[in-house]
Each structure stands twice: as C-alpha cells, then as structure tokens.
C-alpha cells in the first residue's frame, strides 16, 4: 500500500516533468519519516490546475479586465473554471488531487521530522508554500464528503488535517511553525463551517486529534531550539564575511557600525566575539524556552532581550531570531484548539441529550478552563451558541470561528 502511494505520487510528478521535492531539497527517502509522504503530497499539489481550481473553490472568479478596465485574456481553462459552481470546483479538486489524503494519513502514522541535516539562513524550504495547498485540498475533500453523505470520511480527513498541520510546526524553524499555524487556521475554518453538522464519529476523530496534539510539547519550543541552532550555524559564517551577511537588506547606521567593528578584529578577536555571542544566545534561548513552561498568559507578556552597549550584545540583537509575534500566534492557536475541544464536548452533549447544555456545569469543566482568563464564555442563543475566550489585549477575543474578511467573499481574482 505504501509503495503504491509513493508510486502514484512520483508518477504524477514525472508526468508533469517537475523534479520531485525530495530530489530538489537533496534528501534520500528513508521510508520511516512521515515528512517524506508530505513531500510526495506536495509534489501532487504543485499544479497550476489546482491553483486555478482553488480560485473558484474559494468562491472567487477570474476577471476579464484589470482595475483600469483593460481587458485581460482569460485562458480557456480559466473560462471553464469560472463557469463551475463552488461545489463543482471542489469536486474536481477531490477527483484530481484527493489522493493526497491517504499520503498524509500515511505520513501522520509515522514519526515526522525535518529531513534536512542542516538548515541555515540560505536554506530554501520550497515545500512549505505547497503544504498550504495540501491543506486546501483536504478542506475540499471534507466539504465534498459532507455534501455526499460521508461524514465519517470527513472526520477522518479533519483528524489528519489537524495532525498534519501540527506536525509541520514540529519539523523546522519558526517559518515552519508559521506555516503550521496557517494550516491549522484553514483546518479550523473548515471545522467551523461544519460544526453544526458534525456527527459523533467526527467529534471523536477531532477530539482524538486534539488530545494527541495537546499531549505534545508545544511546537514553538522545538521551533525556537531549531531557530537558535540554525542561527548559530550562521554565526561563524557571518563573522567571516559580515558585509555579505547583512547588506544590502540591513543597510542602516547601527549595522554598518557593527560591521566596521567586526572587520577591525583579527581571527582570535572574532573567535572571542563569536563565543560571547553564542553564550548570549544560549542565555536568551533558555530564557525564551523558560517562558514556555509558564502559564499561557506569560507567553503574551514576553519581552525580547534588549542589547547593552558592547559589541557582542549589539551583534546578538541584530542577528538573533525575533519571536514575540510567534508567541502571540502560538498562544492564540493554543486557545483556539482548546476552544475546539470544548466545542466537541458541547456537541457530544447535544447529541446525547437532544439539546444544548444549559450551562457548563453539566460538562467536564476542566475542558473550559481559559488559560488567559478563567473560563471560556458560553452563550446560548436559542438553538445555537457562541463559545469564545475573552482573550488578551494582544489577541482580542478568540474563537474557533474563522473570520472571513468581506473582501474574501465573492472576490474576483486577476489572473
């Protein structure tokens, strides 16, 4: 079965004349790393056809004139896609790209880790942009599964989508974490769209995914460790040639001054400076990781270490990774997943009793603890309800609901 999935993935890649991602990034498949299945799935999704279909599946259309009214020639394929309903576009995505689902499922069943031995600031991560497409395909599969009366299949896909999204965040530096958050947001918006129709198998599947995710160490920890590791790899290269490292992107007075001071050092001086910066980084890494062992509220109040006047400190400030936005995003996603778990408890109650819980006292209250406040807010409104966290000044109110901006509704896409 596994080899068949791989063969399909590779055939697809060869058929399009595109170099498979595992070759592009220079790894030798081991067969025991789920990331390899993710790469095979990404190969399938690197397709213009999918890109076009996603436009329509996301309720948009290609426009035949630009903002100034100048005509734009649409391809025959774009015209055809414009004529599809949203659901037809999704069905086509499922038909042509739905085979990524068993690949992701297979990948999720394995240990998932970063396949590259070394990552530095020069390392390209081309698969990350396509991981989002994989998640979009999975969302389409869920929508079609519900429309065609296969909610159990929808639940299985949602479970794998959540685990896949989370696994991405465990495999690399902060950029992987951010892609993981984006994918999780897509999974959450899909779940939110179907919350009202979820039956018990999907509730169980999503709950299982959430429990496995919540049992793990927060992904941001491994992302920070790896980010420091990768930036340390860069440190010595930077000391050798600071001009190439910083310029022209960081062309400002402070940076130029640091470059000048580094260039004045001899080899021994540079070694000493490197060791000092590495020591400072180790300290700030420990400090950043220490915050993650504290309650979630502290994540949002983290302060990046500030520099003192000495060269090592200023160099450290210029080159060390910046995490504060990642901390906020990590806290928000953490709360969203907790809220989703709470939704599952509410929906389970609704199935068993045929009505919404009158209040949270009839449920496992532990599920409703809000790490940023006291408890999630549960508001009944007739046959429906709203569940949310009051959040924090940095996050605002948080709920599972994905707030689609008005611009995204029926927006038009310039091809």
């Amino acid at each position: 079965m596994k080899s068949i999935l791989w063969a399909f993935a590779l055939l697809n890649t060869f058929g399009q004349g595109v170099k498979p991602l595992y070759k592009e990034i220079g790894i030798i498949p081991t067969g025991n790393n789920g990331y390899e299945e993710y790469l095979a799935a990404a190969d399938i999704c690197r397709s213009n056809e999918l890109r076009n279909l996603r436009v329509r599946a996301e309720n948009s259309r290609f426009v035949s004139a630009d903002e100034d009214g100048n005509p734009i020639e649409l391809s025959a394929e774009q015209k055809r896609i414009n004529g599809l309903t949203v659901f037809e576009a999704k069905q086509e995505i499922v038909r042509k790209f739905g085979r990524v689902v068993p690949l992701i499922e297979l990948g999720n069943s394995k240990d998932v880790r970063q396949p590259r031995e070394v990552i530095s600031s020069d390392t390209l991560l081309p698969e990350l942009s396509t991981f989002r497409s994989i998640s979009a395909v999975m969302s389409a599969c869920v929508d079609v599964a519900y429309a065609t009366g296969n909610p159990k299949e929808a639940g299985r896909i949602l479970q794998n989508q959540l685990v896949f999204s989370d696994n991405i965040g465990r495999t690399g530096p902060v950029i992987s974490l951010l892609v993981s958050f984006a994918n999780t947001a897509l999974a959450l918006s899909t779940i939110e769209r179907h919350l009202g129709r979820m039956s018990l198998p999907e509730i169980r599947a999503v709950t299982a995914a959430l429990e496995s995710i919540q049992e793990r160490e927060p992904n941001i920890k491994s992302a920070i460790r790896q980010e420091y590791l990768y930036s340390n790899n860069d440190l010595w290269e930077m000391l050798k040639d600071p001009v190439s490292y910083f310029l022209p992107e960081d062309d400002d007075i402070a940076t130029r001054k640091v470059i000048e001071q580094i260039n004045q050092l001899d080899i021994a001086g540079k070694n000493r400076l490197g060791q000092e910066v590495a020591f400072l980084r180790k300290k700030s890494e420990e400090s950043m990781l220490n915050v993650l062992d504290q309650p979630l509220l502290h994540w949002l109040e983290i302060e990046e270490p500030s520099a003192t006047a000495d060269l090592a400190s200023r160099l450290n400030e210029l080159t060390q990774p910046v995490f504060s936005t990642s901390y906020t995003a990590a806290a928000r996603v953490n709360i969203q997943l907790r809220i989703l778990r709470s939704h599952m408890a509410i929906l389970d109650y609704r199935w068993e009793f045929g009505k919404l819980p009158p209040d949270l006292s009839v449920l496992d209250r532990n599920l409703f603890i809000d790490p940023l406040n006291t408890e999630f807010i549960y508001l009944m409104n007739g046959q429906s309800y709203r569940l949310y966290s009051k959040g924090h000044k940095k996050t605002g109110e948080i709920e599972v609901r994905y707030k689609r901006s008005q611009a995204n509704v029926n927006r038009e896409v310039n091809p």
Partner: protein
C-alpha cells in the same frame, strides 16, 4: 384530539370487513408492531426527552434505569431491537393498504400501535444521524412517511388523523438535521414529496368517510329513542336539534337529508380537487334544499369542527411536505454555492409556490441561518417544518 377520535371510534359500528390476505400491507404492518412492549414505549418516551417524575420512579423502580439513560442511549436501545425490520416496512409500503376485519375501535388501536412503531423507526434515524450515516437516516424517515401516507390514505378519517401525527413528528426530526442531509438524500426526499403531491390529496376519501360516519350518527340521533348515543361534542347542535323535533318530523327530515347526502359527497369531491387555498371555505359544502329544517341539518353536517380539523390537518401536512422539499432545495443550493440563496427566486419555481397561502413560501435570513415558512391561511396560522412538542413532554 385522541380522546375525541377514540370516542368517535366507539360510536362507529357500521364499518365492516372483507377477508384478510395473508401477505398484505395490513398484516406486515401488524407483524412489525407485535414486538413492541411496554418497556419499549418507556424507552421511546425517554428518547423523546421525557423525564419520569419521582413519584413514578418510586412506584416503578425499573424505570430508573431508563431515566438514567440519555435520550440518545434510549434511541440506541430501540435501534438494537427494531432497526432490522426496515426492509419489511419498505415492502409493506409498496403494497396498497386496506383495513380488514377490525372493529372501528380496533382500527384506531391498530393505527395507534403502528404510529408508535413508526415513531421508534423515526428515532432510529436519529441514531443513524448521530453515528454519521445520514443517507440511511433520511431513507428511514421517508419509509416512515410512506407508511403514514399508505395507512392514512386508505383508512377512515380517524386513522388518518391518528397516523397524521407522524408527519410533523418525522419532519421535526428532519428539521433538526437539515444541515446534515446530503445532496443525494435531498434529491431522494424531493422526489418522494413530488410523488406524494402528484397523487390525489385523499381529502375526498377521508371526508367521504367522515360524511358516511356523520350520516350514521344522524340516523342514530333521529331514531334512537334514548337520543344519548350521539355524545360526540361536534354533533351536540345536531342532537339538540333532533331532540327538539317530534318523531314524525324527525322521520321526514331524515328522509329529506338522506336524499341530499350523495350530493354532499359530490361537493366534497369538488372541494378536494381544488387548490388547498379553497379548502378552508367550508360553506362550499353547504347545500340548500329549500326546506329550512333540512338546510339546517345539512349545514350542521357540513360545518362541524371535525371537518375543519381534517381539512386543516390535510392542508398543513401537504404544506409541510412542500416545505420539506424546499428545505432540501435550499440545502442543495447551500452545498453547491457555499451560501444561502439570496431569495426563493434562486430556486426551482414550482417548489416555491404555496397553495395554502395563495402565494409564495417565505424565506427569512437570520444571521448565518434562515427561517422558511408558509403564511398559512386564516386560522391555520404560520406553518413550519418545525415540530412543537406536545405539552408535558
């Protein structure tokens, strides 16, 4: 209402029998209901969300176990016992139904028992929905509705009313799960409703049976010396009128009225063939013989509350069938376009017509959801698919 129906059944004595086929819809339905025990009805009550009070539990400790179940658990218990008989139910639904060899009281009891069985089946659909099998769930609800129509169409007006309770009951469950009805089930349900509406409304049959009953009641009222046999409240005016007449006058009046009864049946058939909006004017059933006493009796026959109840019930049931079909259209549209229709004009034109209200159904957008209803007609009020549970449950 049930009390009224039962009283009427006791009064009826003229319906009788033909031979009983061994493999008929009648016998199959009867077979299906044989396994229903008292405990199953308690489970059904729990499945419907009923809670037993402390006094009942003190006297019936065996109910404590049921009380401790969630409604869905009660449904699951019923499912384990009754889910396999659906095939047989579907077989019976394909056969024409006729009541046979039963007294009227037995007829009503048959309908009541079958109604309980169908409610159990409807709740098994609930379990299937919960367990992620929406297509079989909707098919099961359609089977329940088919059985309801099959028996309701062929029975007396009493059984029509008893069986008729299953229509809003089943639609209430459907209404809870509308979002979960997949595209293919929308099509299946829509086709079923279209087929149902294309058949005659069977109002003629039911009202004719009612007129037949009323004629019997009239004869009794005019001939029975005790004059106590007509106790049904709908005919109180008729009884009072009969009491006020002398024997000879009553005999003459009865002869005159009897001669007009066939004409009344014709008027009933005419009424049934018109669109539902015309059904509510019962004055169409009133005839004038030129003789004031006869006219008075004919008017009492035509304008009683049971006739109105049957007309209202039939009109409401047909409207709910139409609403179910339109809900399916809306759900299909939602799946196709990932949004609700802006207005009913986005949907199949034939489906948005509301014959009861003489116009169109009403779609109101409420937040992310919507409300769909008929404006109804006169005293009928607004009609929705939503079921309002009886008081006390």
């Amino acid at each position: 209402m049930i009390a009224t129906v039962t009283t009427l059944a006791i009064l009826l004595s003229s319906f009788s029998s033909i031979s009983l086929p061994q493999d008929s819809a009648f016998t199959i339905y009867q077979t299906l209901t044989k396994d229903i025990e008292g405990i199953d009805l308690k489970l059904l009550a729990r499945a419907e969300g009923f809670s037993f009070d402390n006094e009942t539990l003190a006297h019936r400790p065996e109910l404590k176990e049921i009380q401790a179940m969630t409604p869905l658990e009660a449904c699951r218990h019923l499912s384990r016992k009754f889910s396999n008989s659906l095939e047989l139910l579907d077989r019976a639904n394909e056969m024409p139904f006729a009541f046979t060899q039963l007294s009227d009281e037995e007829t009503v009891l048959y309908a009541v028992k079958l109604g309980q069985y169908l409610r159990i089946q409807a709740h098994i659909g609930q379990v299937q929905m919960a367990e992620g099998s929406p297509k079989p769930a909707v098919s099961r609800w359609i089977s329940v509705l088919k059985a309801t129509n099959n028996v309701g169409r062929s029975g007396s007006f009493l059984t029509t009313l008893v069986m008729g309770k299953n229509v809003p009951y089943t639609f209430a469950l459907l209404e809870q799960h509308l979002d979960r009805v997949p595209l293919s089930s929308c099509q299946e349900l829509s086709q079923f409703v279209t087929d149902y509406l294309e058949l005659d409304s069977y109002l003629t049959t039911v009202l004719s049976k009612l007129m037949e009953y009323k004629a019997g009641a009239l004869r009794k009222a005019f001939t029975d010396q005790s004059r106590q046999s007509v106790v049904e409240e709908d005919n109180q005016d008729l009884r009072d009128f009969a009491t006020s007449l002398g024997n000879e006058d009553r005999r003459l009046l009865l002869t005159a009225v009897n001669s007009h009864l066939s004409l009344l049946s014709k008027k009933v058939a005419e009424l049934s063939s018109k669109p539902e909006s015309n059904w509510f004017d019962q004055n169409q059933l009133v005839m004038e013989s030129g003789k004031p006493d006869v006219d008075k009796v004919l008017k009492l026959l035509a304008l009683d509350s049971t006739t109105k109840e049957i007309i209202d019930f039939m009109a409401k049931a047909r409207t709910q069938f139409r609403l179910a079909r339109l809900h399916c259209e809306i759900q299909s549209y939602r799946f196709q376009h990932e949004k609700l229709p802006d207005s009913l004009s986005d949907l199949t034109q034939a489906f948005i017509l509301d014959p009861v209200a003489k116009g169109f159904f009403v779609l109101e957008r409420i937040g992310q959801g919507y409300r769909l209803y008929s404006k109804g007609n006169g005293t009928l009020g607004e009609i929705e698919l939503k079921y309002r549970p009886p008081r006390g449950s």
